[in-house]
């Protein structure tokens, strides 16, 4: 049984004793909750500035066109209209120098916010600022744009056909040019790839064509693996395009003051939005202030703010007034980012016990028109980790389409790859007559599990730790799996119940960020963080590690976040399931630095060596009793001593942004400031096992999820209630992909038909399972000082696939070949006795 759950389950721990302190592992109310429930928390659209103007976007009516002429004279002559901005006036993408001095060259074909060659219907062409929004909207209507229409495509397979249209004039996919032997291939470039009629010969039978890929890798002997298999399945499956649809639209307000640019925007990373804006605006980081205290959801689409920040920023400079660009719900469809659909064909061999012998996977992604989206490739890496095939080949291509730009969405690529695999795994278990949990266990990763393509030296990367099997066992016990599986498929009148299990994984942490804190003479611990506040609790939860280590009660901790004018350190973004791992390490590093300084100060003031002193109970005290001093006194002494003690001298390896913030805070008390330099053997991944029971009405095709459970292997639990929210919330995001969430495009006109919530259908509270439970093993990760990893991503695929597998367990394998599974898909397939929805046409 997992140690932490939302039910009253007896506590059983893993092999390693769990960390559970006074703060770590305890529930509490985050410091922002009262502001949130009283409506005082300010999101980007809640800020006002004197003389603020409003911007509106002019959108392309065509999926692909070149702009021949823009006549804005009538609009600009209207009273109240101030100015317009087009792509020509945007700085464009700039090169980027990383912390390590490495230069990342700007992609001249990336999305810069406005376009003169719009590449999807709804792409912004220009923005106009006026004294109020109605005037701006009226003025937009008065602008005359002359377009030259260009060929377009919204379906990857249409583009790959011989003579098929390209989404861009320069090609339909991204690839590295082939290199001469012994030479490095050049940088990624847009190229044209067409497959042959021969490649498409099985398309009509619903088998995905597999022409020339742009990428491939393999390990082990795949052919040998298939020869030794007792069962070989060859399945084609498709996952949907889905918008991120954070409830808060990407509104941004910008103004200039004393040569500095101030932006109010929702962001998953307050601090990392500064260099991003610097790059988009081609200006110095020192001249940018980002205010982002509360962010209304991101899911990957607001990692470092959003490129559209440049629009109000440029308009504000041009009009010499603050400008707000209020994004509408339809703007969110256009510019808000989306997960790419991945269509896959997987050939998989199993021995008689269900163990995979070989896996051959081909993925085709719907990339949108701009930068290469890596989901088609990530899909294979995650599959290689989660099912541990002894031999695997992956081939893939991401095809450019005239649809809105894709952005990493919760579990990018992993969600799609695992969703291509899970229905196949469930089918194999049925054909081999193996229990569904057992087939997941026999293929599960364990310990330092290897994954991905071998590097140049021939070795695969591996995880820091993995307890997938334990999560499956825990979940099976909590869910009463055996008993319920035995009854799965039993019909009661028109109702059939089915149970499903699915496993999932994703990256669970990054490292190398900075921690910054100050103990002031008032005895309080002031902790700074540059992470975004998405409500996951991270900005505050991770700081409890530092407070716990220093024995400071939570009431005496002041957490500062949300504005880069508030001396924030360089922190991890709140995304990619990296955050808990990265920020607890940074907090640990800063607290360790502060503790060392406290012991030095005590030794100097009270005699003895620093090693003679310990920190706890708001004091620095001598081991075994004797002299001690309070943290407040130590802070006072640190100021008197100066140097490194109060932040006047700083470590050389911290980020320059952290150094600036630390300098601003120097002299205020005892400073703990350090970069997370902790070693790590392996890469951090988190794991989830999910279980579901559905009840399907075979007369109507409708189904309801009766019960759902997800058990996570996420290392040490920092804040149980916040963790539970993430496990079940992200499970629901995945469940949405099973139930009904998707894009629909008109293939012939290239226009979206499902831009709004009621059309693209994210789950409502009535779609949620009647009963939901979560659990966490609480086995610390051995490769990180706090033992904690992130959790946002892994529950997505397992949420989606537990539902898919429960449906097929109830009704058999002849129902669906794509997700989401709609009630008409169930009804028509049951009637026909085979899956009637073909898996490949995009956007249906």
């Amino acid at each position: 049984m997992p140690e932490f759950t939302n039910g009253n389950i007896p506590v059983v721990t893993g092999d390693t004793p769990p960390v559970r302190g006074k703060l770590v592992g305890q529930d509490y109310a985050t410091p922002d909750m009262v502001a949130k429930v009283t409506g005082k928390s300010k999101y980007s659209e809640d800020f006002r500035a004197d003389g603020m103007l409003f911007a509106k976007l002019l959108l392309s009516p065509y999926p692909h066109a070149r702009i021949v002429n823009i006549d804005a004279s009538e609009a600009l002559a209207m009273p109240g209209v101030k100015c317009i901005v087009t792509k020509d006036e945007l700085p464009g993408a700039a090169d980027y120098i990383t912390d390590l001095g490495e230069k990342i060259e700007a992609d001249k074909r990336s999305d810069v916010g406005l376009a003169m060659e719009p590449m999807y219907q709804g792409e912004p062409i220009l923005a106009l600022a006026a004294v109020d929004e109605l005037t701006a909207a009226d003025a937009i209507e008065k602008i005359r744009v002359t377009y030259e229409r260009l060929p377009f495509v919204v379906d990857p397979f249409v583009s790959l056909r011989p003579g098929g249209p390209n989404a861009r004039t320069d090609g339909n996919t991204w690839a590295r040019p082939e290199a001469a032997p012994g030479e490095e291939p050049g940088p990624l470039d847009v190229v044209e790839v067409k497959w042959t009629e021969e490649d498409f010969k099985e398309y009509a039978e619903g088998k995905m064509p597999m022409g020339k890929p742009t990428d491939e890798w393999s390990f082990g002997d795949v052919e040998e693996g298939f020869k030794n298999a007792a069962l070989v399945l060859d399945e084609t499956f498709a996952t949907p395009n889905t918008s991120h649809q954070a409830l808060e639209p990407r509104t941004c307000m910008a103004y200039w003051q004393g040569g500095k640019l101030f932006v109010h925007v929702g962001s998953q990373s307050t601090i990392q939005t500064v260099p991003a804006v610097a790059r988009w605006m081609n200006m110095s980081e020192d001249d940018i202030v980002v205010i982002s205290e509360y962010t209304g959801g991101g899911f990957g689409a607001k990692i470092r703010g959003t490129v559209q920040i440049v629009i109000p920023a440029i308009l504000a400079r041009k009009c010499n007034a603050p400008v707000m660009l209020r994004a509408s719900r339809e703007d969110e469809h256009n510019i808000g980012g989306a997960r790419p659909s991945v269509t896959g064909r997987v050939k998989c061999g199993f021995d008689k016990d269900g163990r995979i012998t070989a896996l051959d996977m081909y993925t085709v992604a719907d990339n949108g028109p701009y930068a290469r989206n890596g989901d088609y490739s990530n899909a294979a890496t995650m599959v290689s980790l989660l099912y541990q095939p002894p031999a695997m080949r992956w081939r893939g291509i991401t095809v450019l389409t005239n649809t809105p730009p894709r952005t990493a969405q919760s579990q990018p690529g992993g969600m799609q790859g695992i969703t291509l695999m899970e229905p196949l795994l469930a089918k194999a278990a049925r054909q081999l007559n193996i229990d569904q949990v057992e087939i997941h266990k026999i293929n599960a990763p364990e310990g330092k599990a290897r994954f991905g393509p071998p590097s140049g030296a021939g070795a695969q990367a591996y995880t820091t730790s993995c307890f997938m099997k334990e999560a499956l066992d825990s979940g099976a016990a909590m869910f009463n799996w055996k008993e319920r599986a035995a009854a799965s498929g039993t019909r009661n009148g028109s109702k059939v119940r089915g149970v499903g299990v699915a496993s999932s994984t994703f990256v669970g942490g990054s490292r190398g960020f900075d921690g910054l804190l100050v103990i002031k003479p008032d005895g309080k611990l002031y902790i700074q963080t540059g992470v975004g506040n998405l409500g996951t609790g991270n900005y505050s939860d991770s700081q409890r590690v530092a407070a716990e280590m220093m024995g400071v009660p939570w009431e005496k901790v002041v957490v500062t976040w949300g504005g880069t004018n508030k001396n924030l350190p360089w922190s991890c973004a709140s995304g990619g399931s990296q955050t808990t791992h990265a920020t607890t390490r940074a907090a640990h590093a800063a607290a360790t630095d502060a503790i060392a300084k406290l012991r030095e100060i005590a030794a100097r003031a009270l005699g003895g060596r620093p090693a003679d002193y310990l920190v706890g109970g708001e004091r620095v005290y001598r081991r075994g009793g004797g002299a001690s001093m309070s943290l407040a006194q130590a802070a006072q002494r640190a100021i008197a001593m100066g140097g490194r003690y109060d932040g006047h001298e700083l470590p050389e390896d911290i980020n320059k942004i952290t150094a600036t913030s630390a300098k601003n805070m120097a002299g205020q008390g005892l400073m703990g400031v350090a970069r997370d330099n902790y070693d790590q053997d392996g890469r951090a991944f988190s794991f989830v096992a999910a279980f579901a029971e559905v009840e399907i009405d075979v007369e109507t095709g409708s189904y309801q999820i009766l019960d759902f459970l997800a058990v996570a292997d996420v290392g040490t639990v920092i804040h149980p209630s916040a963790l539970g929210g993430q496990i079940l919330g992200r499970s629901m995001l995945g469940i949405g992909h099973a139930l009904g969430q998707k894009w629909v495009y008109d293939q012939h006109l290239g226009i979206p038909l499902a831009k709004r919530f009621y059309q693209n259908r994210p789950p409502t509270i009535l779609d949620a399972p009647v009963k939901m439970q979560w659990g966490a093993l609480n086995i610390p990760d051995p490769e990180t000082p706090v033992g904690a990893r992130g959790i946002g991503e892994p529950p997505v695929a397992s949420g989606c696939c537990a539902i898919l597998n429960a449906i097929s367990d109830a009704l058999g394998d002849e129902i669906f070949r794509r997700a989401p599974v709609s009630l008409d898909m169930i009804l028509t397939s049951l009637e026909a006795g085979k899956p009637v929805t073909e898996p490949m046409t995009a956007h249906v």
Binding site: K40, D132, E248, G297, R329, G535, Q726, T764
Partner: protein, 210 residues
Amino acid sequence: MSDEHDPQSKYVPTRRDLIKGVIAAGAVSSTGYLFRGSITRAFAAAPGSVERMLTLDVNGQQRRVDVMKQETLAMTLRYKLGLTGTKLGCDRAECGACSVLIDDVPHYSCSVLTHSTRGKKIQTVEGLASPDGTLHPVQQAVVEQQGFQCAFCMSGFLMATVGFLKTNPNPTRQELAHGISGNLCRCQDYDKILTSLMRGAELSREVNNA
């Protein structure tokens, strides 16, 4: 309401009215960002239009405000009365983030014309807590249970719940879920949301029975 024109009567603005209107609009222009430029247009285009200066009953206070005839309550609350706790998630009655109570009944304020709320009692999330800062039991429960994540949807859920509990103070989980099913959360932690709001219902009963 005696100082206001009958909306049904034929009203033709005189030059004097127009000047008065502009002066009145000027007085609120620092909060009237969205509509400033439209001030004269609305008059000129709308003979027989409704009076623009309204007195609204918001959170127990009488708020005098200049309102265009096509203006939604969400816009008035957010951009003229400074009540930004009411959120706009879709502006088309799909998500419920803008839910407020009008005469104790939850409404999507993005889809209610402000003029239709004359003489009615409007309550927003800012009006839930007592003047002394004591949280409403539903707010208290959400804080205790860490009931929402990003909370952009939260004020809408709170208002929908408080409204629903007025008609059914002792709901089952399923009944409350139905009662607030017009509200969308994209962080999707519906289970914890429902748990915290059920706890809110329980605390509300305790307060009401005390």
